[in-house]
């Protein structure tokens, strides 16, 4: 997905670069397999209580500044200053010192933030990948270091809530500083909020704009699972062009090759 600036011949030239870049980045942030399951999602899918999720691949940690720098190096249309206003907001990569220079406040191993959903989608597409769906993300995030579904574990919940409770002004730490969960994924909690592909499908889709979306509780199973509820509220407050100091992402792939 590129803005309509580059014609076909240029595209052809650029086609090779991602393959090379993608290969290098694959080593830095490999895709880890998350086995499929019949999953009791916090968001009911119609009348269904469980949703079947197919096995998929998810990157081990959130995309870092270093990884994103490689992307904007090869994709000038996504650099700060050139990225279109319709697909970003005024906060796009403002932590960086320059359009191609993350600088001291955004080290290579910190997760990239201040990126809009469109930018995240473009990045993942360039890696022959995609953003994970909410259900996939929820499945992967339900795990603790030892269990696949730790959502009923009060200690797990408290740990997630503890991060929510700390103020956000501090500098972000590098990725993979803590323990991986049972799938081998790092930083599913405690570092940044992460974009998902269908973030605009989470809250009750109501024709009446006057009905406030803030609760999410109207349509949610497991109301006691506040850790998940708050993530839904957070994603529900965002628009696709928004950027946030604590909003990053990681990419996913469908098992079996293609995105």
């Amino acid at each position: 997905m590129l803005p309509r600036a580059l014609p076909a011949p240029a595209l052809l030239l650029c086609a090779l670069a991602p393959l090379l870049c993608g290969a290098a980045q694959a080593e830095e942030n490999p895709f880890v397999e998350v086995p499929g399951a019949e999953f009791r999602s916090a968001l009911p899918a119609g009348k269904a209580e469980v949703v079947p999720i197919r096995t998929f691949l998810l990157q081990r940690h959130p995309v870092t500044n270093g990884e994103f720098l490689a992307f904007v190096t090869g994709h000038p249309e996504w650099r700060r200053g050139t990225a279109p206003a319709a697909l970003t907001d005024a906060g796009y990569l403002t932590d960086w010192s320059g359009p191609l220079d993350p600088g001291p406040r955004a080290t290579a191993s910190q997760p990239v933030t201040q990126v809009s959903w469109f930018a995240a989608e473009a990045y993942c597409e360039a890696q022959h990948a995609r953003l994970p769906d909410w259900a996939e993300w929820e499945l992967a995030a339900a795990a603790s270091a030892t269990r696949r579904d730790a959502r009923s574990d009060p200690a797990w919940r408290q740990q997630v809530l503890d991060w929510y409770a700390r103020p956000g002004g501090k500098a972000l730490v590098a990725v993979e500083q803590g323990q991986a969960n049972v799938y081998g994924l790092h930083d599913m909690h405690g570092l940044v909020w992460e974009w998902v592909h269908d973030f605009n499908s989470l809250l009750p889709a109501d024709a009446d704009p006057e009905k406030f979306c803030g609760s999410g509780a109207l349509d949610v199973q497991q109301k006691e699972n506040y850790a998940v509820l708050m993530r839904i509220a957070m994603l529900g407050s965002l628009r696709a062009s928004y950027t946030g100091h604590l909003v990053g992402f990681r990419c996913a792939r469908t098992a079996g090759g293609s995105p």
């Binding site: 590129l2 309509r4 600036a5 119609g46 279109p84 206003a85 319709a86 469109f118 995609r130 889709a205």
Partner: protein, 197 residues
């Protein structure tokens, strides 16, 4: 023409096209999104197929039992409040997020069912991820349920001839402010209108 001249001309043309293309679409226009649509005539088109005209744009799906027919009728009602010359300037684009079922034939059937003027109304569908991206851009939420139904919000958006957002409404009936903006966008010739913010 000699080969050299041809090469130079082609290069110049390419360069102009490059520069021209990037300078054309304003940075805050929704047409900055490159998305693939399939229309009721089975043609491939981008989101900007009605560029050059003020456009009403929305999203729906064909098997929608009640809300979407109401949505289409609502758009026709807003359109009908305009005088003839204004209507002639207006374009309407309805994008379905159900590419699987809303094939060109199905879209064509819907267009006929609603007696749409197909010279100005386009029924199209988009596949994921394009459908998701268009919805995100317009601020429309939708969920695909296992039953095949979609849960979605209703929003009619008015774009200027360059794809910049002028106004939106979720009111199917009686949004006077929206109607006024629609009138303003379609009544006067392009050059004489103030740039919308």
């Amino acid at each position: 023409m000699t080969r050299l001249r041809l090469a130079v001309a082609s290069f110049a043309f390419l360069l102009t096209w490059l520069v021209g293309a990037s300078a054309d679409i304003p940075p805050d226009s929704v047409y900055q999104l490159h998305a693939q649509l399939t229309t009721q005539t089975a043609a491939s088109a981008g989101l900007d197929l009605h560029r050059g005209h003020p456009t009403l744009i929305t999203m729906f799906y064909g098997s929608c039992p009640a809300a979407c027919p109401m949505l289409i009728t609502a758009m026709q009602v807003y359109e009908s409040q305009l005088d003839e010359s204004a209507q002639a300037r207006l374009r309407v684009l309805l994008v379905s997020f159900d590419a699987a079922r809303d094939t060109p034939r199905e879209l064509d059937r819907l267009a006929k069912l609603h007696h749409a003027d197909v010279t100005r109304w386009t029924f199209a569908s988009a596949a994921d991820p394009d459908a998701r991206r268009i919805a995100a851009l317009l601020g429309i939420s939708y969920r695909h349920l296992p039953s095949g139904e979609f849960e979605h919000s209703l929003l009619i958006t008015l774009l200027d001839s360059d794809g910049r957002l002028i106004a939106s409404t979720a009111k199917l009936v009686g949004d006077q402010e929206f109607q006024a903006k629609l009138r303003a966008a379609t009544e006067l010739p392009e050059g004489r209108r103030e740039r919308p913010r």
